[in-house]
């Protein structure tokens, strides 16, 4: 097999692409390529990963211009011509090379009240949630988020409007809006409403197209808009 021609971003916000030659192997992932560069060619390269199997959400990068989880992205899928350009995720500050600062991304989850607020104690019985209930199904469709930031970096509205909460935080809020045990619903709806919240979304679905877990934050955001309108009309907000 031919060698891969790999360009990787070096530096921080200011920087440049550096070229490396990496042996092409069978079943090679993009993360394998970055790891090869760091272990064999240039130990000063900074990148992030942990699980290597699509669970932890730490390895996302921009690969040939598209945000992806690199540990489960096969080179054969994204580089038919054996060329790779690997850059940090968009819409996040770059710390070094392909490592981005995710603090704002996760701060927005907190702002969107992405934390469960229950009312029961350990002495109470378990809540019963029917698997076939509408709300439980809505949760199922959105709960498998790994917090990788791919959707956030694919969303144009985040680029245009840096204070926009973004698809991942709103998707998280949507799972809790559908959690029948949660008692902070009004506060949560208020936190995600308005021009910096779900109402900024243009439904153009870049997040949904890119999410590696097959989640549709777009659908959740549309659900939030409906829930907020109905709460507003009922005078609950």
């Amino acid at each position: 097999m031919a060698n891969l021609q790999v360009k990787i971003w070096r530096g921080a916000e200011e920087g440049e692409f550096q070229e490396y030659e990496v042996p092409r192997l069978e079943s090679q992932t993009v993360l394998d390529v970055v790891t090869y560069v760091q272990r064999r060619l240039d130990p000063s390269l900074a990148y992030r990963f942990a699980c290597r199997v699509g669970v932890c959400g730490s390895c996302a990068m921009s690969v040939n211009g598209v945000s992806r989880w690199t540990c489960r992205t096969h080179v054969s899928k994204v580089a038919p011509d054996d060329k790779l350009e690997i850059a940090p995720l968009r819409n996040l500050p770059v710390i070094k090379d392909v490592v981005t600062d995710m603090s704002e991304f996760f701060d927005k989850w907190a702002k969107a009240r992405g934390r469960f607020t229950g009312s029961k104690t350990r002495k109470d019985a378990f809540a019963e949630v029917k698997p076939e209930s509408k709300q439980r199904k809505a949760v199922d469709a959105a709960i498998e988020c790994i917090g990788c930031g791919v959707c956030y970096s694919a969303c144009e509205v985040v680029t245009w409007k840096p204070d926009y909460l973004g698809p991942a935080a709103l998707n998280r809020a949507w799972t809790l809006v559908n959690d029948v045990r949660d008692v902070a619903q009004q506060e949560r709806l208020a936190a995600v409403a308005g021009d910096a919240g779900c109402h900024a979304c243009h439904t153009h679905m870049a997040c949904t197209e890119r999410c590696p877990k097959g989640i549709s934050p777009t659908a959740g955001i549309a659900g939030l808009k409906r829930a907020i309108l109905s709460a507003t009309l009922k005078g609950e907000m």
């Binding site: 021009d195 907020i228 309108l229």
Partner: protein, 113 residues
């Protein structure tokens, strides 16, 4: 000054409902166009249909109202993306809506009266 959240939510609701109205109105409008041009388009024929007709007058008035509500809300969203937010743009959008409404109702009046 930015608008309070409640107003932002109601604006979205208004845009949603006006969009639904527009979807219906556009379909009716297209069918009418196809029907109207079947043997050439003439002012006499159009006016023959609309003059004194309360139903057509009502339909076009609703159509105009939906456009006058829908367009400024959407344009406001787009302005916000270019960093243009706040009271100034909100006032300008009211002016845009009123202008659309004025032109539209004037046109409706012209064919119905």
């Amino acid at each position: 000054m930015t608008m309070n959240t409640r107003s932002q939510v109601l604006l979205w609701g208004a845009q949603r409902i006006s969009a639904m109205l527009l979807a219906v109105c556009v379909v009716v409008h297209l069918i009418t166009i196809i029907y109207a041009v079947r043997n050439g388009l003439s002012a006499a024929e159009i006016l023959g249909r609309t003059r004194g007709n309360v139903a057509w007058g009502g339909f076009y008035a609703l159509f105009v109202a939906a456009v006058a509500i829908h367009a400024p809300i959407g344009v406001r969203n787009i302005c916000a993306e270019f960093g243009w937010r706040g009271r100034g743009v909100d006032i300008l959008m009211c002016v845009l809506g009123l202008t659309l409404a004025m032109w539209g109702f004037r046109a409706v009046w012209a064919v119905v009266s």
